[in-house]
């Protein structure tokens, strides 16, 4: 009599595995860098290539590290929100211009506005590899100790900001 129920029991035991496996968004990969210190880099400033910038330039405060490019449609989409966020003075935004044309990038910042406190240029994409970037836009949240707390893939919106970024700022600051 007991045997009759065996398949049902096995099925019920498998349900949570299906539930977790199928509800995961496969295109959003968890970054192995979360909880780690930011990968070191030395890159020229986008605005003034004579100035070299490294990760120590944004130590000691919370920052957003935003990977963008002029060829990236999603970056255009999130740009308005980045402008709004930088105007609010809640957090500094660092921009990494990825595999782009410098003149196009400068034009973008001049015509659409510059939300970045610092901008670096990664012309060859070496730093992007170190950061595990695989598609722009990507936005990292970094704490004052230089630890990556969170990574967002795709255009950043107000909703993502309040839901996924703000909780870190609140818990870490108290």
């Amino acid at each position: 009599m007991k045997k009759k129920y065996a398949p049902i029991i096995v099925f019920v035991l498998m349900l949570p595995i299906f539930f977790v496996g199928l509800s995961r968004n496969k295109s959003e990969l968890p970054s192995p860098l979360i909880g780690k210190i930011v990968p070191a880099f030395v890159l020229p400033s986008l605005i003034d290539p004579a100035v070299m910038i490294n990760q120590a330039n944004f130590n000691g405060r919370f920052v957003l590290f935003n990977v963008w490019a002029t060829w990236c449609a999603g970056c255009r989409e999130e740009h308005e929100f980045l402008m709004e966020l930088s105007a609010r003075d809640e957090i500094s935004i660092i921009g990494l211009n990825w595999r782009d044309n410098r003149n196009d990038a400068l034009n973008w910042l001049i015509t659409l506005g510059n939300p970045y406190e610092l901008s670096v240029e990664d012309k060859l994409g070496r730093t992007a590899i170190d950061w595990g970037v695989y598609g722009a836009p990507e936005t990292f949240l970094i704490n004052p100790q230089g630890v990556i707390l969170y990574k967002h893939l795709g255009p950043l919106t107000e909703r993502d900001w309040t839901l996924n970024f703000m909780p870190f700022l609140v818990t870490e600051q108290t």
């Binding site: 968890p30 192995p32 595999r99 070496r126 590899i129 170190d130 695989y134 598609g135």
Partner: protein, 136 residues
């Protein structure tokens, strides 16, 4: 004439862009290792292609990076670790035999053994039933 030239240019332009123009290494052994590695690294932009068969610039960048690592004498294992540290386990097509992934590797064998065990049990039961019936 111009049209023919244009058609030829368009037809052959893909060849010009083909994956790596010529071998990456003069050394045949290194070239083989290089080709083996890039065939097993997932292009994360186009997730069902390896970086060997993709021309997305991230794939090109990663191939260049692997070339650089090979030329400075890194082992295949070190290169795999390098990629996993940045992109996660998903970047490798062949999961490594360590940590929770051991389950992935051993599960098929475990299922096979369980299946065989169950089969033997059922067959034995059936034959004993059959022989019981014969004895009647």
């Amino acid at each position: 004439m111009k049209t023919i030239a244009l058609v030829l240019v368009i037809l052959f332009s893909t060849i010009g862009h083909a994956i790596d123009n010529g071998p990456a290494f003069a050394d045949e052994k290194l070239q083989l290792r290089y080709e083996k590695i890039i065939a097993e690294v997932r292009c994360l932009v186009c997730q069902n292609q390896s970086i060997k068969s993709s021309n997305v610039f991230l794939a090109v960048d990663l191939r260049n990076e692997i070339k650089r690592l090979l030329s400075i004498g890194k082992t295949d294992k070190e290169i795999a670790n390098y990629l996993v540290e940045r992109y996660g386990e998903f970047v490798l097509y062949r999961p490594r035999f360590s940590g929770g992934r051991i389950f992935l590797w051993l599960a098929p064998a475990a299922f096979l053994v369980t299946g065989l065990f169950m089969m033997i049990k059922i067959v034995r039961k059936k034959t004993s039933l059959a022989s019981d019936a014969n004895n009647d």
